[in-house]
């Protein structure tokens, strides 16, 4: 994605690539190996050892970037993960780790953050409403209950969520939105695994039925919408980078195919009908890479423009991703309508990435909201 990696970033990317190729090649994906809890746990720990969950956490809290811009480094890993269709709730774990690292308590750091960094537990940011849009004002209701809250409501299609996971729940309290950290196995929280379009990851619907959460679960301040925005900036940025990685690999496969497939006496890639479609797709991929890096760079620099950049990148890439999925399918033709061929694995992942943490329309509206356009702002 980035042509100018530092030596340390190259080491990070190379290690991620080796690990992914060795541990979770596409054959493992097809076996649904990640549905096996023991496999998933082992994978997650190894990923933790490679630093996947600590790049956006400051050194003094057990993390550390390799370039000084942790979000950019994490985006490089995300890109590699997308390219190689890797499982694990990478985005969620990083968002939860980042939230605790920047606004958590010592107890949260000692418990959840340590576990997340090591890959001992999955982490998920529970924020998506039924449409998949991020509900920054809270996706579940938090009713005051003693010193803490009682949660009720549900969220759908949460990546890598089960009863071993640390959940950061975007909750609506009477005093405004709050991010509440829910420990693995908390009473009143249930997980219903769901099947989905994307075969490379596992998702669950999460329900809260009067789940009691102590006051100590609060991360950050109540009513701090800016904090929720910062979490969304990170989630969008890393989701975009994963998506762009998958797009890169899918287009590579497609261009190779267009050079090899013969029809009417010549490689189909020589026909302008195919060549021009691929050139357009390649251009939009190049733009996608440029905006993905720009958004990651600004997020890691805590640039005041980072939230807007993240939404702009998400909106652009979401559209480009879905256009590309169709373009590549069209070039492959019949072969890509078979289960055996890998194109649909990318098609599925790319489409899911385009929708997660807000689709293109949601993020375009969000750009207007962030810019203060209109009377509602």
């Amino acid at each position: 994605m980035d042509d100018d990696l530092s030596a340390d970033q190259q080491v990070l990317v190379d290690a991620a690539t080796r690990f992914a190729e060795d541990t979770f090649p596409v054959t493992k994906l097809r076996e649904r190996a990640f549905d096996d809890a023991a496999f998933a746990a082992a994978y997650r720990r190894q990923a933790g050892e490679l630093g996947w969950f600590s790049l956006v956490v400051p050194e003094e809290q057990g993390g550390g970037s390799v370039s000084g811009n942790g979000v950019l480094d994490a985006a490089l890993v995300a890109y590699t993960r997308g390219r190689l269709l890797q499982p694990v709730g990478f985005v969620g774990a990083n968002v939860v780790a980042y939230a605790i690292a920047t606004a958590g308590t010592d107890a949260q750091r000692a418990g959840a953050l340590t576990a997340l960094i090591a890959g001992d537990a999955p982490g998920a940011w529970v924020v998506g409403d039924l449409s998949g849009a991020p509900a920054l004002d809270g996706v579940v209701d938090a009713t005051p209950n003693g010193d803490g809250w009682s949660l009720s409501g549900s969220a759908v299609m949460v990546d890598d969520a089960d009863d071993t996971a640390w959940l950061l729940v975007a909750a609506a309290t009477p005093d405004g939105p709050a991010q509440l950290l829910v420990a693995p196995g908390a009473a009143g929280v249930s997980f219903a695994p769901v099947d989905g379009l994307d075969l490379s990851r596992r998702y669950a619907d999460v329900s809260f039925t009067g789940a009691a959460v102590p006051a100590s679960a609060l991360v950050g301040e109540i009513g701090d919408r800016t904090f929720a925005e910062r979490l969304l900036t990170l989630a969008s940025t890393l989701t975009v980078a994963e998506c762009v990685g998958a797009m890169h690999q899918e287009l590579d496969m497609t261009v190779d195919y267009a050079k090899q497939r013969i029809a009417f006496g010549r490689p189909i890639g020589s026909f302008q009908a195919i060549k021009h479609l691929l050139a357009d797709t390649s251009t939009m991929l190049e733009v996608s890479k440029a905006v993905a890096l720009a958004a990651a760079g600004q997020a890691g620099d805590d640039d005041a423009h980072a939230a807007q950049a993240a939404s702009q990148a998400k909106a652009f890439v979401a559209d480009a991703a879905m256009d590309q999925a169709q373009a590549c399918f069209q070039v492959f033709g019949g072969i890509s309508f078979t289960w055996e061929h890998d194109q649909h694995l990318f098609f599925r992942r790319i489409t899911t990435g385009a929708e997660q943490f807000g689709d293109a329309s949601w993020h375009r509206e969000h750009v207007c909201v962030l810019a203060g356009i209109g009377s509602g702002n």
Partner: protein
């Protein structure tokens, strides 16, 4: 030369001091879309004076060699000056200015004889000579190597006949660089030669073309027995295509991010338009506003990415410039469409004479120019497909036979290859 290479920081300080002391602050201008403005003789005259001022102070042709009146510094220095000069009145020769200091000046430098360089480069840099390109023809645009203007040797002169079109700013240019066919009996790329043509030479007729927006920045030319001395050949006779490659490289700066910064304010023109028609809270209009801004922003970051790769000496990849051009050619019409979608009837109609109010319509018309100018979207797609992605070429019907036969055979083409 490396010894005189002043550091970028020192150069910035020097440029800033000179600019502050010598240039006037520019009045704030509203964002204008792609526009080919009419340029008046008074504006050109004023720009020539200003260019001379830059030249005398050593800020003209910053990356041109010193022996031809330049400063002998790098393109990065030139960029620094452009950054510092933002917000000041600088010479504006319209479209012909970009052509003169870019493709024309560079190809003279690279391919010209010592006499040509000495005669023209200092005058170009001092604002004395403005140039244009006699390049496309009514029957050859994308297929540039298929031009039909002929040049026939007659003693010490070549005699040129034919017609040219889409020459930016030819109506105020002093000189033209003209591509002509000197040999019809060889394949098309091998029979081409470039000529230096004074626009006031006998037999040259320049007409302005009235465009879809009513402006007339482009011209068409007729060449009737125009006599040009052999010393005014640029490069070798019959080797015009290699000179063309140089010109194209400098033309393809399009789509690159220049000295302007990242666009952060959300499409101010679209926001103003939505406010005017009372649609700032309309979700559909808001989608259009954001879409327009995201295209601006994405184009900027693409330009920066490609620019960095083009400047990188480790990975020479001139063909990726086509990404920037194709993105522009794709995005501009879409962006312009957003104005029509937001403004609706008020974008499509206005009080007579209300220049500001007609801006969305003008942009809608002009917004598509980039998709056909300086290499159509299709040519960019061929370039990306073949030279970046490595896809095989289409079969060719004209590569290997004499151009005279190509023209004859094409009229009776049956669809058979060969």
């Amino acid at each position: 030369m490396a010894d005189d290479m002043v550091s970028l920081d020192d150069f910035r300080a020097e440029a800033r001091a000179w600019i502050e002391a010598n240039l006037e602050a520019a009045p704030p201008a509203a964002r204008k879309g792609a526009r080919t403005e009419n340029v008046s003789p008074e504006e050109i005259a004023a720009s020539r004076v200003l260019q001379r001022k830059l030249f005398d102070a050593g800020f003209a042709g910053i990356s041109y060699p010193k022996e031809y009146g330049g400063r002998g510094l790098s393109p990065a220095h030139e960029n620094v000056f452009a950054q510092e000069a933002l917000g000041y009145v600088t010479p504006d020769f319209g479209g012909a200015g970009a052509v003169t200091f870019g493709p024309i000046g560079r190809s003279i430098l690279e391919h010209g004889t010592e006499e040509l360089k000495a005669e023209h480069l200092p005058k170009i840099l001092s604002g004395e000579e403005i140039w244009c390109q006699f390049y496309s023809e009514p029957e050859a645009g994308s297929d540039l190597a298929g031009i039909r203007t002929s040049a026939v040797l007659d003693g010490d002169n070549y005699v040129l006949n034919g017609s040219k079109i889409w020459s930016t700013g030819a109506y105020y240019a002093d000189w033209a660089m003209c591509l002509a066919r000197t040999d019809w009996d060889v394949p098309k790329h091998r029979g081409l030669t470039w000529f230096v043509v004074p626009t006031n030479a006998p037999g040259v007729t320049v007409n302005r073309i009235e465009q879809i927006d009513g402006a007339a920045g482009f011209c068409e030319e007729f060449l009737d027995d125009v006599s040009i001395p052999t010393s005014y050949v640029l490069g070798e006779v019959g080797q015009g295509w290699s000179v063309t490659q140089t010109m194209l490289i400098y033309e393809r700066g399009a789509g690159m991010s220049g000295s302007a910064g990242e666009p952060r304010r959300v499409a101010p023109d679209m926001v103003a338009l939505a406010a005017k028609v009372g649609r700032l809270d309309d979700p559909i209009a808001r989608q259009c506003i954001a879409r327009a801004h995201i295209l601006d922003w994405a184009q900027f970051h693409l330009g920066r990415r490609i620019g960095a790769r083009l400047r990188s000496p480790d990975r020479p990849a001139p063909s990726i410039a086509a990404y920037g051009k194709l993105a522009m050619g794709t995005f501009h019409p879409i962006r312009a469409q957003q104005g029509v979608l937001i403004g609706g009837s008020r974008a499509l109609s206005w009080a007579p004479g209300d220049e500001d109010a007609r801006e969305p319509s003008i942009n809608y018309l002009n917004g598509r120019m980039v998709s056909i100018a300086a290499g159509t979207n299709e040519m960019q797609r061929n370039g990306i497909g073949e030279r970046v992605l490595g896809l095989p070429r289409e079969p060719s019907f004209d590569q290997n036979k004499p151009f005279a036969e190509v023209v004859r055979d094409a009229r009776n083409w049956s669809g058979k290859v060969g």
